[in-house]
Symmetry: C2
Subunit: 440 residues, 2 copies
């Protein structure tokens, strides 16, 4: 029988140990941040009825979704995001949920889209949403979690848990209600949705391309007005743009909403990093209130690393009860790629804190007993199996990024420690000394 | 448009917050244990070429695997275990792996099998393997990790990280080489594989059913011999059974292997909980050395919660290089069900450690600022959004299992704390006092 070539599907990836350790430490930071706000995790199946996932249906999704017929003849599909399963989850478990319900969900999703520029067919989303509240306070909490979590991931966090560096990220906010009202004033009717999608491409395709597209749809005059509107205060502060928007659109509830949001930012001491940007629209239909995207100031070209918005009716496809909510999602893969490019990631370089040398093969039981003494003190400790030359074992430790090698004397229960980096030895010390040396 | 009924596929499950918190805390314990031994995580795609996953092919797998044609016309499938992807991974990345390679992989797998008695179509496996070593020390390390991790999960662990309670689990070990040699002595040729599978059903279908099946395959005489062999020392200690096996099969390398394994157990101080059981075979073809299953002594009927064995040639389907290994897998779903049934799980009962009351809607920014003071001290702190009556907010905290409610005085920066359980208040205290009260 010939060999099968070992390879993964295009757009799919293996994660090798050091990559996976980095991913896990990022996820741990994200989870800890979410949990600190009282958000709780849920999980849903990777596979669902296609009907559930496709809902009202829709062009791009229908093309990209992995859909097939299962052994029982069911029409099933792999989830392509975490929002639709959450809508189904909320409708199904509505009676058991305590509102407002603050949940997060970190999991993989699958889209058979063209693979390019860091786009994968399997990738991880980190969603966090508050459903059952339409208050500005809920909008603000999601923004605050974005602000805090992104700062933590970018290592802009002091030992006292204070956020430093106001110049790390930019969270760019707009209000769909306001924008829709402006579009309505142009009397372009049903073409609004298409305009929204075109404006959403601004960062990707550039101003000229967007202007050309919009001109083709609604003509030069109205196109110019739209371009003027979305360019309002590109580089101005939040308050200045808010004033301009009020002038352009007139005072109303949405302006008042944004004003409150801004005052919460100031009260909480996080006014930096937030911008009001009329060009942010998010392409998706279901947003009805504020929408936002997050950019890394040192690498804006990679695109938004955390986006979301407010929606009026999460569960509309599944039940008549209206559940409003607000949420956001961190694109872990894109963020990891960006942080790696910026050298801002704490790379894991070691498999363990220490390793016990193999003196003789028959000492394997004693070696594990000695290793347990270190593990109990929170030191991860590998045990080497083969009684090769000691220099070979030092080299193995070096390859694995293990900083300390422990040579036990099973008779005296004392240890000699070799520091792999400095090549210095500390001979004949007891457990306590050895532990404190490694922990330094 | 009519509503779509919100429901999951048969055999698939949602995890609600408190269930998911429990799962995550189990996974965290498992990971910490693996990491303490110097094991490192990897990840592989959920979807692979069907050819890769099916390898040599095989009856049950082929029937159960979720397989379909993707948008690009590729024959793809969802992984049904973590061993086959690991074999592909090892063959593909062989040049970059440092041997012996100790990895773990905790992830979901999918099997379209009949759903019954706690069997699901989507479930989580926790695999840990050492490849590139054929030493007894590697076998022992896997067994030690099973021993330690299962004790940790069963809460048989003191504050000083010592394992207590030798009567929690039974790890039942056999040696496939030894068993194969015994079967060979019966001269039953190719029927050995079928006999192995029949013996594997012993715990499930009972002795009489197995005997009947085996009789039909190789007749009464040989069937009796097999039943005698697998019944050797059902309730005897490891050393006694080892002696009996030596008498029955004769001294050889496999006996010597088991003897060494036993001496390592004694040297490491973990001799309890391990049994030698000639009836353990594991159904799968690829095992060549020791095989094992783990039972909870208080609930043996639920079946093995952690099983595995030694294999000679992990990557045989993909390359000519032989890579030997040994590994095991914790069945998280079954274990969780068992521990819940035994009341041995630390149920999460709260969404957060504390909540900040909503005094007035416009205080949302200040409330978050106050909450941050607690979060910085490691206290998870929700902020309530709606300025309902204070008693309603206390009830909300109670529903969410939040033990402390914080009522801030934004003028004085002092707090009143309500203990939701005792309904006692501590009035007008400063941050430090409040933090230490909550942390108690």
């Amino acid at each position: 029988m010939p060999f099968i070539e070992p390879k993964v599907l295009k757009g799919f990836r293996d994660f090798l140990p050091l990559q996976e350790l980095t991913r896990r430490s990022m996820i741990e930071k994200i989870e800890n941040s979410f949990r600190s706000f009282g958000f709780v995790p849920i999980d849903t199946p990777a596979l669902e009825y296609a009907e559930i996932l496709l809902g009202k249906g829709g062009g791009e999704t229908e093309k990209q979704i992995y859909r097939f017929t299962d052994q029982g003849g069911r029409d099933v599909a792999l989830r392509f995001d975490l929002t639709v399963p959450f809508a189904r989850f909320t409708a199904e478990h509505r009676a058991g949920l305590i509102l407002p319900f603050k949940r997060y969900h970190i999991a993989k999703v699958w889209r058979g889209e063209n693979t390019q520029r860091g786009r994968y067919r399997e990738f991880t989303q980190c969603d966090f949403d508050i459903v059952g509240s339409d208050s500005v306070a809920a909008d603000f909490e999601i923004l605050l979690i974005m602000y805090k979590t992104l700062h933590i991931l970018c290592n802009d966090f002091t030992e006292n848990n204070n956020i430093t560096g106001s110049n790390t990220i930019s969270i760019r906010i707009n209000h769909r209600g306001l924008f829709n009202r402006f579009l309505a004033s142009l009397d372009i009717g049903e073409k609004s949705a298409e305009i929204l999608r075109q404006v959403d491409k601004l960062a990707k395709t550039g101003r000229d391309a967007v202007q050309e597209q919009i001109e083709q749809i609604i003509g030069k005059d109205k196109s110019n007005k739209i371009l003027d509107y979305i360019s309002l205060g590109q580089n101005d502060g939040f308050d200045t743009v808010l004033e301009k928007l009020k002038e352009a659109a007139g005072e109303d509830n949405d302006i008042e909403h944004l004003r409150k949001l801004r005052s919460f930012m100031k009260d909480a001491g996080v006014a930096d990093s937030f911008f009001l940007d009329p060009s942010i629209t998010r392409g998706l239909d279901y947003y009805t209130g504020i929408v936002y995207e997050t950019f890394l100031n040192k690498l804006p070209a990679i695109g938004s690393v955390c986006s979301g918005g407010r929606y009026d009716n999460l569960t509309g496809v599944y039940s008549k009860e209206q559940v409003p909510g607000v949420g956001s999602s961190i694109g872990l893969d894109r963020l990891q790629a960006a942080l790696e490019e910026l050298g801002q990631i704490n790379q894991h370089c070691g498999y363990a804190d220490a390793a016990i040398i193999c003196t003789e093969a028959e000492n394997a039981g004693k070696a594990q007993k000695a290793a347990e003494c270190f593990r109990k003190q929170g030191i991860s400790c590998e045990v080497f199996f083969e009684s090769k030359k000691i220099t070979q074992q030092f080299m193995l430790a070096e390859k694995k990024g293990i900083p300390w090698v422990i040579i036990p004397d099973y008779g005296t229960e004392r240890f000699t420690l070799r520091n792999i980096g400095s090549r210095e030895d500390r001979e004949n010390i007891d457990l306590e000394e050895a532990v404190s040396l490694i922990k330094q």
